[in-house]
């Protein structure tokens, strides 16, 4: 099973969360803050803190710790506050 992380094809295990896949790929940060652009990644890990937000298939603000990977997911870092990509 494969997803892309910031454009890079990356093997993942079925059942892994996006956060687990990112950590396994050696990433600790995949978002920066709206004010000051400070790096953020996994914090609470249980869906409460909304710190681990990431863009999955064009949808921003996905909690990486709650989203289970699906084959072919396009995961990319989130820059501050983003709007969803326009629907085709």
């Amino acid at each position: 099973m494969k997803i892309t992380l910031d454009g890079e094809p990356t093997p993942v295990q079925p059942g892994q969360t996006v956060a687990a896949a990112l950590l396994a790929a050696g990433r600790v940060s995949w978002r920066d803050t709206r004010d000051g652009g400070k790096p953020r990644g996994l914090f609470c890990g249980i869906g409460v803190c909304f710190d681990c937000l990431v863009v999955v298939n064009g949808v921003p603000d996905v909690r990486a710790c709650q989203r289970v990977v699906a084959d072919g997911d396009d995961v990319r870092a989130q820059r501050g506050a983003e709007l969803p990509e326009a629907r085709p």
Binding site: R34, F50, L53, V59, P60, D61, V62, G80, A81, E82, L83, P84, R87
Partner: protein, 380 residues
């Protein structure tokens, strides 16, 4: 030393009353069974609106109160996230257009700035294209209500008053037919006057004091999106909101109200439902709020919702606040029934109550808000 006045309820109304009474030189104690500003005050959007009120006593109170907020922002010296953001009210059907324009004309006639806008997308680029009429209200504002109430209470303390959280009031003591004290779970506090500022629970407190008034809880729910780039610049709402506010129907009413907060999330309201103090959040309500918000701002369709919160508004059957003395029990005062407008109406309510209590000249006519009016008495 005993307080002159005990204010029961440390929401924004109790805080504004306590602050005005304190500034007038009275010794004030504020009691709340929970934390200050933790119930109705913490459950809204922080609206300071003139746009949703037609000519009449509530609009007069709103206009006076807005001006007081503007001066309080300076007087309190604390950031309460005041934003003179302005409101934009839109009609999205042909049928709704003329009533909105007529409503705005009536407001202009009494001095409210209500500008009909032809190019509303200059103000709100993401707004739906199917707008049939739009009115801009530059005087509408917003603030962070918990900060604002806390700042008022801090000022009460700074001026020598007392604010006590976690003190539950169970009733009053009387002597010679008038208020002599307040009974709490931590003893009796002797005082000369009591202000019932219990919001949706003020009906219960009034009953416990032996002078019931008809105030009921009216449920509302707000949805909160993830933090977004600036997509909503004003407080934007559908013209049918005014009708939903004015309705006395107990059944669910929703009307789209959409606005950004300084932190980035967009708040999506509004719902009104009479369901007692039931705290559940119904999916049906969320679905309707979301559907109507997306109709106003199509860009919100794929935006994630982080959470939703609910609260209770203090509802009076005739939709007017209750401000003044209770003629049945000297020393008992009420400041309640502001429904969803309590944040905006708080400062003028505190001033009016203080003027009546101290015998000063009221800055506006208190008659429409009097306690012994039929809707508040006979609805019991």
């Amino acid at each position: 030393m005993y307080p002159d006045v005990v204010v029961v309820g440390a929401g924004v109304i109790g805080a504004a009353c306590a602050r005005a009474l304190t500034v007038a030189g009275l010794r004030v104690t504020v009691l709340d069974r929970g934390a200050p500003a933790s119930a109705t005050t913490a459950s809204g959007e922080g609206n300071v609106l003139v746009s949703d009120k037609g000519p009449g006593p509530e609009l007069d109170l709103a206009v006076a109160s807005r001006l007081r907020w503007l001066s309080l922002v300076d007087e309190l010296g604390v950031d309460i996230e005041w934003e003179s953001k302005g409101g934009v009210v839109v009609a999205t059907t042909d049928a709704a257009a003329q009533p909105l324009l007529d409503f705005a004309a009536a407001q202009r006639a009494v001095g409210v700035q209500a500008d009909v806008v032809d190019r509303v997308h200059d103000l709100e680029p993401h707004l739906t294209k199917s707008v049939t009429a739009a009115v801009h209200y530059p005087q509408d504002g917003q603030l962070q209500p918990v900060l604002a109430a806390s700042a008022l209470l801090a000022d009460v303390r700074k001026r020598g008053g007392t604010v006590r959280a976690g003190v539950a009031v169970s009733g009053v003591d009387t002597a010679n037919g008038r208020i002599a004290g307040v009974r709490t779970d931590q003893g009796v506090i002797a005082c000369g006057a009591v202000v019932n500022a219990c919001g949706p629970w003020s009906g219960e407190f009034a009953r416990a004091a032996g002078a019931p008034i008809a105030i009921l809880p009216r449920r509302g729910i707000v949805m909160v999106t993830a933090a977004l780039p600036l997509v909503v610049r004003h407080k934007v709402y559908d013209a049918d909101y005014v009708g939903a506010v004015a309705s006395g129907d107990a059944a669910l009413q929703t009307s789209s109200v959409v606005e950004s907060t300084p932190a980035g999330p967009v708040l999506i309201g509004s719902s009104r439902q009479r369901m007692g103090f039931a705290e559940r959040i119904d999916v049906e309500v969320l679905r309707e709020l979301a559907r109507k918000a997306v109709a106003l701002f199509p860009v919100l369709a794929d935006v994630p919702v982080m959470r939703a919160y609910g609260g209770f508004r203090p509802y009076a059957p005739d939709h007017l606040p209750v401000i003044g003395p209770d003629p049945r029990l000297p020393g008992l005062w009420h400041a309640t029934g502001h429904e969803g407008a309590g944040i905006g109406l708080a400062p003028a309510t505190g001033d009016l109550l203080t003027e009546l209590l101290t015998g000063a000249d009221p800055h506006l006519d208190p008659t429409p808000f009097r306690v012994d009016r039929p809707a508040v008495m006979e609805a019991l």
